[in-house]
């Protein structure tokens, strides 16, 4: 009977907090492709939250009910002692000794002392606050936000250099045209997601230019196309994709774009730019970010614009 009585409120509270558990498991489900570091932090925080709340609930709910009826369960003697030490509460049966005289519409107040654990918590947070200010603003032990950012950039730069050294990173100097089906299929899917809004589903050109004709505003050929996609042409609304597509992806899209040459899709936009013919390296404009019109290649007389590999001699910039 008694057990039954105490069960309900606990059950009700526990069910309220079940979501903490659900939530934590979700994080792990998501954790597959994310850094464990962040997960650790978040999950740790949540577990901490759960534990703290449970602790408080146990502490405050405890087993007052048993005390009230005078039938104390055996197991809780030590716990009661522990709890007593934390709250220093005057037991319910002695409540009349500490009741204050005021009576506010039937509400009375007890003069229980402030639970010691509350004080410890409060003092603890004050110490934390002082230490925090000292660490960040007096002794400058930990970096403030901009230093933190610079550190983040440096780490990324080191990582990048490492990748370039090992050849893992493709750039405009090392890019090659891909012709295998799998790569072109990847290129096509990236094209569909990212390029279609401006260049049309078949590369026929809408806001942006037609990609299937012989004419190129910023130069044809794998290196030029790669450069244009990578750096963009901000003045004309072509954004830089270098932070959005990885070099491998840019290579695939570039290869795909070159592969659709001459497909002559319906509603093709009128040619823009100059006729591009692949010949030699001098025509490949390897652009720098700030030269908006870089990469414009001059017309050449031969026809093919299917370029395989073009050795780049210089960092040519054309204006």
């Amino acid at each position: 009977m008694l057990k039954n009585k105490i069960k309900i409120p606990n059950k009700l509270i526990i069910s309220l907090f079940t979501f903490t558990g659900i939530f934590t498991s979700n994080i792990y489900a998501q954790a597959k492709d994310n850094s464990l570091d962040t997960y650790g932090q978040v999950a740790g925080l949540l577990v901490l939250l759960g534990i703290l709340i449970m602790f408080i609930l146990i502490l405050v709910l405890g087993d007052e009910k048993y005390k009230d009826t005078g039938i104390a369960p055996k197991k809780s003697a030590a716990f009661a002692k522990f709890k007593q030490r934390l709250t220093k509460a005057v037991p319910i049966e002695k409540e009349s000794e500490i009741i204050l005289e005021d009576d506010f519409d039937g509400i009375r107040e007890l003069d229980n002392t402030v639970p010691p654990w509350f004080n410890y918590l409060f003092y603890g947070t004050i110490v934390f606050a002082v230490v925090y200010m000292l660490v960040f603003h007096v002794f400058n032990i930990k970096p403030l936000m901009l230093d933190e950012y610079i550190g983040e950039l440096k780490a990324a730069e080191i990582q990048r250099e490492e990748l370039i050294k090992t050849g893992a990173l493709i750039n405009e100097n090392t890019v090659t045209l891909l012709v295998d089906e799998a790569s072109l299929a990847n290129g096509k899917s990236a094209f569909t997601t990212n390029c279609v809004p401006c260049h049309g589903p078949a590369g026929e050109g809408t806001v942006g230019p037609n990609l299937t004709d012989d004419f190129w505003i910023h130069g044809g050929g794998i290196k030029n196309v790669f450069t244009t996609i990578k750096n963009g042409v901000p003045a004309k609304g072509m954004i830089s994709w270098s932070s959005l597509l990885n070099p491998k992806k840019i290579q695939e899209v570039s290869s795909y774009v070159i592969s659709i040459h001459g497909t002559n899709p319906p509603n093709g936009k009128a040619p823009e730019g100059e006729k591009y013919v692949s010949t030699d390296s001098t025509k490949t404009g390897i652009g720098k970010t700030d030269s908006l019109k870089t990469g414009t290649t001059k017309i050449d007389s031969s026809k093919t614009n299917k370029v395989k590999t073009e050795p780049v001699k210089t960092d040519t910039m054309k204006k």
């Binding site: 409120p9 979501f19 709340i53 009230d68 606050a129 597509l245």
Partner: protein, 723 residues
């Protein structure tokens, strides 16, 4: 008849004469009805916008019900209409009883009630119409701001008048919280709403950029503290011991957590601006004071839960107590989570995401919602002198509401954390794993669906409650004036020897109020004044110029449409953000931004560096039908922007107003401003036409594009100039 008899008898027996009076229950009933009506309205709008997030077409291409405009309607409706009326209901009931006095003036009560409803109706008309200041939870335009201040003063007079004529020596702890609420909300509202009118329904904040942000979040955070927390703690101190019929656990704890809470809370505002262009020192103050808030906040929870010692068997039986217990535990959770979210490393993940939405709803649905329901279930039967119509329905409400909270909160936690981690994820090659923002949006759509179901469940519970309480009212008969009696008291002017200082203070409402005001003001002053007067806090950037008239008009359209509810304009200095959006935001870039538009949530991507990113026609097509350009986008379409004309009649007043606020438009510029506007508009329209978008230069879309293309470009100028 009976009263007089008793009176005579008392005199006969020499008992100290009892004063006869009555409690005003009518005003309580009115506020209770308003609470329930606005609860349904506010929550219904909430459910609608929750669904709009996965069904953007639900705005039916109708501007007045588009997300950006009715999201503020939801927040205002729930905070100021539902919770606001609940506060007044609870205070008007409990204050009379703990003071043993009728409200100071029935007339003031009436003006307060109808004035507040008028404010809400104004909000319900103005917000969908796009009349907004854009400052969160302070969206209402200046005439309504003045009305709010007036009604609040009336409430304050009524409250202090009642306290002054009380028949109880000391003020009960609930009254302390009410006093802190009344004085602080007044200060917050007035300081944050200082704005210069442009016209009858349009104004610009006197503060700009970083300073506006600081004032806004000092207000925004403390609106949570002093509108959603302190009055509710006061009401908890009345209704919880009443319902449990137990004495309050610790008077000492009440004193400590009350003063610590109101002193510390006010400092914590900057935690809404971590990693932004706000100076580091202010951010750190926000963090440490938030951490120090844990104990004072929990003081309320502990005192509430420990009051239930020996009454837990009643919690099982009584729906009122069930609601209250969940409310108090939700309060404890939210006030622990809040400080954790104020830690830099947690905030870096949580800010701008649905985690914050979840956090807010633990407080709003759990703490404010459930405590309000507990109060209503307790009050209505008493007001109607009967007992609750159906306990079963109340239990049903409890469970459906609790489940609704769990659905809502879990889904939003998941959505927030999953999306944030996707935003931050780099590949092995060192570039963003999910460069397309939409990929991360699509990922959490299922969570948005679950959230809306949770919200709908919560609303269903409310409707069940209203039915139950309506039936309860039908059972009983309403007593507008409840007779009461109490002996008159004489309060000594001087502090008695041996009397504790706080005991003395509890007898002196004015002294108490002044002291509370001082305690509250300290934190705000220390944070706000240096940010305004020390120049190094906002380093200027020479290439930052005022907006052109067309851009200014575009900016006002951006504000009207509430673009800032979903798009931030504040890039934090994280590699994941500068890679995605561009250079991080700097304080000096916002010096002409009256008001600031940093935003607090990224339902869509940040727009701080949107300028020159896409061609004009991209924006045109995107506003016309976002999904034609960005498949899978959840942004609503804005077809009316290409039909409505730019309000050029207002240009002159706008320029003049901004000049008064310190924006360096040359004198006389207001006369030629529209020429400049026309030239710029013609250029954009010509470009649009060239690219196949037939649009006239006098349409709003042109102004909005001009503004979007300007965003964040000022510092690009410097860079190329330096080179």
């Amino acid at each position: 008849m009976i009263k007089e008899l008793t009176h005579e008898q008392k005199q006969q027996f020499g008992v100290p004469s009892m004063e006869q009076f009555s409690y005003d229950n009518l005003i309580v009933k009115n506020f209770a009805i308003a609470t329930m009506v606005w609860a349904v309205v506010g929550m219904l709008v909430g459910v609608i916008i929750a669904i709009q997030l996965y069904l953007p077409a639900l705005n039916l291409n109708f501007q007045y019900i588009t997300y950006g405009r009715i999201r503020p309607l939801h927040t205002n409706g729930v905070i100021f209409a539902f919770v606001g009326n609940a506060i007044f209901m609870g205070i008007y009931y409990s204050l009379q009883r703990v003071c043993k006095a009728r409200m100071f003036s029935d007339l003031l009560s009436k003006i307060h009630f109808w004035g507040w409803q008028l404010i809400i109706v104004c909000a319900a008309v103005m917000l969908p119409a796009g009349l907004t200041t854009s400052k969160e939870y302070a969206e209402l335009e200046w005439p309504v701001d003045i009305l709010i201040a007036l009604v609040w003063v009336i409430f304050a007079i009524n409250m202090f008048g009642t306290i002054a004529k009380r028949r109880e020596k000391h003020m009960y702890v609930a009254v302390w919280f009410y006093i802190a609420t009344v004085v602080t909300v007044a200060v917050l509202h007035i300081v944050n709403s200082i704005e210069l009118p442009v016209s009858f329904l349009k104004s610009y904040s006197v503060y700009a950029g970083v300073q506006d942000a600081l004032v806004q979040w000092w207000y925004g955070h403390n609106a949570v503290a002093f509108f959603l927390t302190t009055p509710y703690l006061g009401m908890m101190y009345y209704f919880l011991p009443k319902a449990a019929n137990r004495p309050v656990y610790s008077y000492k704890l009440s004193i400590i957590h009350f003063w610590a809470l109101i002193f510390i809370y006010i400092w914590a505002g900057p935690h809404h601006l971590l990693y932004t262009a706000l100076p580091d020192w202010a951010q750190s103050l926000g963090t440490v004071f938030s951490i120090m808030l844990i104990a004072p906040s929990w003081g309320g929870m502990i005192n509430g839960l420990l009051t239930l010692r020996g009454a837990w068997d009643k919690v099982k039986e009584d729906p009122v107590l069930k609601f209250m217990v969940v409310a108090v535990t939700a309060y404890g959770m939210a006030t622990f989570e809040g400080p954790m979210l104020s830690l830099k490393n947690v905030n870096a993940i949580a800010h701008y995401t649905d985690w914050i939405v979840s956090h807010v709803h633990v407080g709003a649905l759990g703490w404010n919602g459930f405590l309000t329901f507990g109060m209503l279930y307790w009050l209505i039967p008493r007001l109607f002198n009967t007992s609750l119509y159906s306990k079963k329905l109340a239990n049903l409400h409890f469970w459906i509401g609790t489940l609704g909270i769990i659905f809502y909160v879990t889904a939003m936690y998941w959505a927030g954390i999953a999306q944030s981690l996707m935003w931050k994820q780099f590949t092995a090659e060192g570039i963003l794993q999910y460069p397309n923002f939409l990929t991360t949006t699509q990922e959490i759509i299922p969570m948005y669906v679950i959230r809306s179901i949770g919200g709908a469940m919560f609303l269903t519970g409310v409707i069940i409650m209203i039915y139950n309480l309506y039936k309860t009212a039908k059972l009983g008969s309403f007593m507008a004036n409840e007779a009461a009696e109490a002996p008159a008291i004489f309060i000594e002017k001087k502090k008695g020897s041996g009397e504790k200082i706080h005991r003395f203070l509890e007898k002196k409402p004015m002294k108490f109020a002044i002291l509370a005001t001082i305690v509250v003001l300290i934190g705000g002053l220390i944070e706000i004044i240096p940010t305004f007067i020390i120049k190094s806090n906002v380093p200027t950037i020479s290439s930052v110029h005022p907006y052109t008239p067309l851009e200014l008009q575009g900016r006002d359209i951006y504000i009207r449409e509430g673009c800032n509810t979903c798009h931030s304009q504040m890039i934090r200095p994280f590699r994941s953000e500068t890679e995605r959006y561009g250079e991080y935001s700097k304080a000096g870039e916002f010096v002409y931004d009256h008001p600031f538009l940093w935003g607090s949530k990224r339902t869509g991507p940040d727009l701080q560096r949107e300028g020159n990113k896409y061609p004009n026609v991209w924006h045109y097509l995107h506003m016309q039908d976002p999904r034609s350009i960005s498949p899978g986008s959840i942004m609503p379409a804005y077809p009316w922007l290409e039909k409505q004309d730019i309000d050029i009649a207002g240009t002159e007043a706008k320029i003049n107003t901004l000049r008064k606020l310190g924006v360096p438009y040359p004198f006389g510029f207001e006369n030629t401003a529209n020429d400049s506007l026309q030239r710029q508009a013609d250029k954009i329209a010509a470009d649009l036409q060239k690219n196949g978008a037939a649009v006239e230069s006098n349409k709003e879309i042109v102004a909005l594009i001009a503004y979007l293309q300007r965003l964040g470009t000022d510092i690009q100028v410097t860079k190329s100039a330096v080179k």
